[in-house]
């Protein structure tokens, strides 16, 4: 289960590349594996490649879910017998 973090394309750059905003950090990613990506699109990122597009509402829901999950994982890790 490799969790997917949605990122928003901020800028298209030469060579099928794009700049995305990753939690406030700008990062260059490859669009080689995906058709028709534009500025403002949300994509799922894996090892530096955009894998699929998702609509903004879905992206927002997914990001919110991950924020909740992080809280849950922390709680689970603090339970005796669980986590590292």
């Amino acid at each position: 289960m490799c969790l997917a973090i949605p990122v928003q394309v901020a800028e298209l750059t030469p060579g099928d590349m794009a700049v995305v905003d990753l939690g406030g950090v700008r990062k260059e990613i490859s669009l080689a594996l995906l058709d028709g990506v534009d500025v403002g699109d949300w994509v799922i990122l894996h090892t530096g490649f955009a894998l699929s597009k998702l609509d903004p509402a879905e992206a927002e829901k997914t990001l919110k879910l991950f924020a909740e999950m992080e809280t849950f994982e922390e709680a689970l890790a603090e339970t005796p017998g669980n986590g590292e």
Partner: protein, 377 residues
């Protein structure tokens, strides 16, 4: 914390051998609990976007579990279309291993352009079958007729990965074909690494559904989900387990053992079978409107063979809302603290061990990063 987690494989060398092998996993096993308290339709929309590389398999297992819980029975074309999408994902993953993960072990560049020529058309299949993108709606989505012709894509994948002489046996193919997987196979054979990492761990058999259901129900502390055993035994799952009895794979097992070459070749054997099944499935599709009542209650299990192995979802639904969600993923079998990787590396020669261990890890294909750390006792 790092939300995605990761695996660390620690090897300690003593007297030119691997003396101890240890796996530490920081994978977020509680992730599925974040789905609880949400309506089933929302959960199904979230699932494919939560997981980057196996979103279709996760959504497929999820919809199977939810439909079982709600007693919904989608029409045959819906099932065929879903399976087609699952196989398209598996194809993309197997091609990724072959073109991106394996070439660096040969000192070669990754094959981004070749993978793009495969992944882009694969990515268009969902929209072609389900224009509204609703394939994972309970009871099925709006499935249209007029499926795309997969012929050119299938031929391209075969040419790019298998090339010539695939039918002539592994050694002849490794010698003759000019594809990245053939070059890896030749490297493995030349370096006498075919049996590297040989393990006695067996392929995961069919699991009795009611017993599996009970195991997951009782798994309050997630010990089973973190390090699964079945009837006291550990197993491996994935292409090798699935292709265990095919003649090419059985032949390699007999000659070289259940090691590196068997894991690598099983993925290619599976790729060929998957391509054939995709072409068959697409010829059987028919339009269907899908849909169903999502307000019911119940519990259900969804079991699918994802690219990396058996993936199990279990769900409890109360009045159309998910009240409990659990996932048992293939990486937990393959990267079990006493599993195939660990047993295969125990006692292995220390020579070039870090690279070889990384190659074995790549052949077993974890779904998260696996760091290899080597220390001397």
């Amino acid at each position: 914390m790092e939300i995605e987690g990761g695996i660390t494989l620690g090897l300690t060398l003593k007297a030119d051998r691997v003396a101890t092998t240890e796996i530490t996993s920081k994978r977020p096993l509680g992730a599925s609990s974040a789905l609880e308290g949400r309506p089933v339709n929302e959960v199904l929309r979230l699932l494919p976007n939560m997981f980057s590389i196996c979103g279709t398999a996760q959504a497929h297992a999820g919809i199977e579990a939810i439909e079982a819980a709600l007693d919904l029975h989608p029409a045959d074309p819906q099932r065929a279309a879903r399976r087609l999408l699952l196989l398209a994902e598996t194809t993309g993953e197997h091609c990724w291993r072959s073109l991106m993960d394996w070439p660096p072990f040969l000192g070669e560049e990754t094959g981004v352009a070749a993978l793009a020529a495969i992944k882009r058309p694969l990515g268009q299949i969902t929209k072609a079958l389900f224009p509204d993108g609703d394939w994972n709606r309970p009871g099925g989505g709006r499935l249209v007729s007029g499926a795309p012709d997969l012929g050119p894509l299938v031929r391209n994948i075969r040419d790019t990965l298998l090339g010539t002489a695939w039918e002539t046996g592994v050694e002849a193919w490794a010698e003759a074909a000019r594809t990245p997987p053939a070059r890896l196979a030749r490297h493995i054979l030349d370096q006498s690494l075919a049996g590297f990492g040989t393990t006695c761990v067996k392929p995961l058999p069919r699991l009795d559904r009611s017993e599996l259901n009970l195991r997951i129900v009782a798994d309050e502390d997630r010990a089973f989900a973190a390090a699964p055993r079945w009837q006291g035994e550990v197993f491996h799952t994935g292409p090798l387990a699935r292709q265990w009895k095919t003649p090419i794979v059985a032949g390699i097992r007999e000659r070289f053992g259940v090691g590196l070459l068997a894991f690598v070749i099983a993925r290619l054997v599976e790729l060929e079978a998957v391509l054939a099944e995709m072409e068959l499935l697409i010829s059987r599709l028919a339009a269907d409107t899908g849909g169903g009542d999502t307000t019911g209650s119940g519990s259900g299990l969804g079991v699918v063979e994802a690219a990396r192995g058996r993936l199990v979802h279990r769900v409890e639904v109360a009045d159309g809302t998910v009240s409990r969600y659990r996932i048992l993923a293939p990486t937990e079998w393959n990267f079990h603290p006493e599993g195939a990787l660990v047993q295969g590396l125990q006692g292995a020669p220390a020579e070039d061990i870090e690279t070889r261990a990384r190659l074995l890890v790549a052949a077993l294909d974890p779904c998260v990063t696996c760091r290899v750390e080597v220390a001397h006792a």
